[in-house]
């Protein structure tokens, strides 16, 4: 029993200590960090790093780009995936099954496999250095898993509900917006959280398609701070905190939904 409690404590510390160190380091100077990497700052907490990073970097711009890309990617992935899932569920024949197979095939192919041809395609389409380009690629890359999860859910909905609305003279679109979407909300919101975390944190696509500072998202900007600040950990960790803040705040508030959503993504993907 004691051993169990001890193990739980050790694991908890392994998570907590690095996080506390990140927070502390962000309010220390570089000199203080060199002198005593794990200690408290000598003259109290200083927020100079936070001021400096906003002065030296276009942080607000990166933040805005990440927000735009994430919001549009998540909402359009969900909309398109829900439409496909609804189509597959309603058709319920070999064409539907074939389309389901075609879409879910995408879960097997890692993004890294197609990065070379995708890069040249995006170049040809003039979609590099563009937020629209990033959003489109994000949607197509998460469509498979979203289709998979939402189809699984919609297939469990009682058929009678759809049929009843047909008798009432509802067309497919009305059935989709008035029946399928409201009833699938639990599954849609779980998928939404999963997609939020994924798109907010994505590095590969911005790395491939964005070279202009005006269109960089937070993970890419953060990665490049390493080149500028080298081992200036106070500055790097200030960047880490700013980039992670929205997800951390959302996690603290919606913790249960986060755990369920991200796990659903893993289990079903």
């Amino acid at each position: 029993m004691l051993f169990r409690k001890f193990s739980l404590l050790i694991y908890a510390l392994l998570i907590l200590i690095p996080l506390v160190v990140v927070l502390l380091t962000s309010v220390k100077t570089l000199q203080e960090t060199f002198r005593d990497p794990l200690g408290l700052p000598d003259g109290g907490f200083k927020f100079d790093n936070y001021i400096a990073i906003f002065q030296e970097q276009t942080m607000a711009g990166y933040f805005l780009n990440s927000t735009i890309v994430t919001l549009f990617s998540v909402s359009f992935t969900l909309l398109l995936a829900a439409m496909v899932a609804f189509g597959i569920t309603r058709m319920n024949n070999w064409i539907g099954n074939l389309l389901f197979a075609v879409f879910t095939l995408g879960m097997m192919v890692p993004a890294q496999v197609i990065m070379v041809p995708l890069y040249s395609l995006m170049l040809d389409l003039g979609l590099t250095n563009s937020l629209l380009g990033l959003i489109l690629v994000n949607i197509s890359s998460t469509l498979p898993i979203a289709v998979f999860i939402l189809t699984g859910f919609m297939k469990t909905l009682p058929k009678e509900l759809f049929e009843a609305s047909t008798i009432d003279g509802a067309g497919n679109w009305k059935m989709f917006t008035k029946v399928a979407i409201p009833l699938s909300l639990p599954s849609i919101s779980a998928t939404a959280i999963f997609l939020f975390v994924m798109h907010w944190n994505d590095l590969l696509y911005p790395l491939l398609f964005i070279t202009d500072n005006a269109y960089k998202t937070l993970p890419l900007a953060l990665l490049e701070f390493q080149g500028q600040y080298s081992t200036n950990y106070p500055m790097l960790f200030t960047g880490v905190i700013i980039a992670s803040a929205p997800m951390v705040i959302a996690y603290v508030l919606l913790q249960r939904y986060f755990v369920a959503g991200i796990t659903a993504g893993a289990v079903k993907g």
């Binding site: 169990r4 193990s7 739980l8 998570i15 907590l16 200590i17 160190v21 990140v22 060199f34 990497p37 398109l80 995936a81 439409m83 496909v84 609804f86 189509g87 309603r90 879409f103 995408g106 097997m108 192919v109 890692p110 890294q112 496999v113 197609i114 990065m115 070379v116 041809p117 890069y119 040249s120 395609l121 489109l136 690629v137 949607i139 197509s140 469509l143 049929e163 497919n172 975390v197 907010w200 944190n201 590095l203 590969l204 937070l218 953060l222 990665l223 390493q226 950990y233 790097l236 960790f237 880490v240 980039a243 992670s244 997800m247 996690y251 913790q255 755990v259 991200i262 796990t263 893993a266």
Partner: protein, 291 residues
Amino acid sequence: MRISKSIYLFFLPGLVLYSLLFLYPTISALFYSFTDWDGLSTAFQFVGIDNYTRAFTGDSIFQKTIGNNLKFMLTVVVFQTLVALAFALIVIKNTKTNVFLRALYFFPTILSSVSVAFIWAFIYDPSMGILNQVLQLIGLDFLAQNWLGNANIAIFSLAITQIWFHAGQMLIIFVAGLQAIPEELYEVAKIEGASKWQAFRSVTWPLLAPSATIVVAYTTIQSFKAFDLVFAMTGGGPNNSTEIIATYIYDVAFKSYQFGYASSISVIFMVIIALITYLQFKALRSDRVSY
């Protein structure tokens, strides 16, 4: 019941986007893998299976890369699964403390790979890193290392970071699987006088197989795709000792502009992933039981 033809319209936007930005690039990866295209010029030549021959016989870095990937994958799959399962068994009951601990263990999952890379770069830093400091503190100075700079151990240092990053997520999957096992089965085992270990062997383990399948399969694929972490922490160095297939594809394509050759490595990568997925599901499916 007849369904109106307008149902096809529901597929249209998704299918167009997916075909253009996923299916087409996948197929063209296969096409370019038989060419010597440099990615910039419009002209290229077909070189047959030369790229594949080169990968398997003439490219020692690529072969090293496959070995690195296996080392990384095996370390992560074995230890992450064990850690996740062991801790899931401890925090299975929904007490307040356990719910809090699960949330804490899960926390790293919501961070970006770049953030995790920076945190661990600081932990591993040879001069001011937390790890070496702690080792000194408890009198184990001789273990202090340049954790990411030593070519013999860098890949394992990365594997530990990956486990810190994702073990909590796997733990949650195990908890969900464990909680789905009916309590009565344990009571029966108790009445029949089974020891704790026997109960684990005959009740928990067989019924946990579905969750174990998911965890192992997901961890394997995830460790093959660990591009971000490797790219941000070591960039494949030192001396290619942490180069994995995904980062190597990036280097070949975007640093030495050999798009044709990079495409052929992508195709090999795809085949490996498909093979692993298939084998795992086949192997683990035979363990499944119903009750």
